[in-house]
């Protein structure tokens, strides 16, 4: 069974408690409609598990299929440089249907980011490389489409429904408490 390569590190985008029992990691694409549909479901999962779960996101843009996937990923990295990764992450998915470059600039503006820096960062090859390296880690980890989820480093192959995913997270919490 494919596992996460490399494992989670603090270089990843994460939110929640680092000490929590469960790590739920998503490989996603900002223009993928399935990821867009999963977004509100994931919000519910976060709410349900609170501090018991760490949520992690890695980029997996299918650029040939989704022309704005990569620029959106880079824009989220540019926002991360200004401490607003998760804010723009939510906004991009919530406004996915009108995703384009102008819209991303508008989101940066609405978050009161330094627009000049944001625009310069959009062209920074280091950010494109960050996105590429996430993509490569996804390939090596056996990502086969988006969204792909990993629970404590193991690929989750069930459906992307609240019921099914929260059951799997529950199970992982139970497993970790048993092994302690």
């Amino acid at each position: 069974m494919p596992g996460l390569k490399p494992p989670f590190s603090k270089a990843d985008h994460y939110k929640g408690d680092l000490e929590s029992a469960v790590q739920l990691l998503e490989y996603g694409d900002f223009q993928c409609p399935h990821c867009g549909a999963a977004h509100p479901m994931l919000k519910k999962i976060e709410k349900r598990f609170g501090s018991r779960m760490l949520f992690i996101f890695r980029h997996f843009p299918l650029s040939e299929l989704h022309p704005y996937a990569k620029i959106a990923a880079i824009a989220s990295e540019a926002a991360a440089r200004q401490g607003s990764f998760w804010e723009i992450f939510d906004l991009i998915f919530e406004n996915q249907s009108r995703l384009n470059r102008e819209m991303l600039l508008g989101l940066a503006k609405s978050l009161h980011l330094n627009l000049k820096k944001f625009q310069t960062d959009l062209e920074d090859p280091a950010l494109a490389e960050k996105v590429e390296s996430d993509f490569e880690s996804g390939i090596l980890s056996g990502v086969n489409g988006t969204p792909s989820f990993y629970i404590n480093g193991e690929k989750y192959n069930g459906p992307y429904t609240f019921e099914s995913l929260s059951l799997a997270v529950d199970q992982a919490i139970e497993d970790s408490s048993r092994s302690v």
Binding site: P2, D29, C32, P33, H34, L62, S63, E64, L65, F135, E136, I139, L140, S141, G142, V143, N144, G145, T146, N157
Partner: protein, 154 residues
């Protein structure tokens, strides 16, 4: 299903409505043969779209990927255009599934090929193969591991 360390059977199939393509044309390159059930799989980020994002990785290993299904050449042409696929799709159409049968990955009951992967080295020897469970897109990690092993043996 054909095993490893044997020569991959050669074949000639339509790659476009007016062009035929033979496996032997790729001697000197590593080859990934991706048998799949059908064009127009409804999921986003399906298997072929995933491989389409991977030319950078395949180039690194001097490898070329070929998709093969029992769909006809016109169907493949429309599918390639719709999904903007950059690699060759071969039509194992007439006689239906003949090549999938040669490789031992034809599903008689469903009348289509299984989802199966073969990685051949630059001399056309099968070095890795994988039969994916029904309905599960195998991703590409196994392919890259196989290519890495081939490149290390050189």
């Amino acid at each position: 299903m054909l095993g490893t360390n044997i020569a991959a059977p050669d074949f000639t199939l339509h790659a476009t409505p007016d062009q035929k393509f033979s496996l032997s044309e790729l001697k000197g390159k590593n080859v990934i043969l991706a048998f799949y059930p059908a064009d127009w799989s409804p999921v986003c980020g399906d298997q072929m779209s995933l491989y389409n994002e991977m030319h950078r990785f395949f180039n690194k290993y001097n490898a070329e990927i070929l998709g093969i299904s029992v769909d006809g050449k016109w169907c493949h042409a429309a599918f390639r255009e719709a999904r903007k696929l950059h690699f060759t799709l071969l039509a194992d159409f007439e006689p239906k599934g003949a090549i999938a049968k040669k490789y031992g990955v034809y599903n008689e009951k469903e009348g289509r090929s299984e989802r199966a992967l073969f990685v051949l080295d630059d001399e056309g020897i099968i070095r890795w193969s994988y039969l994916s469970p029904v309905g599960i897109n195998p991703g590409a990690d196994g392919i890259l591991e196989a290519l890495e092993l081939i490149s290390r043996k050189k």
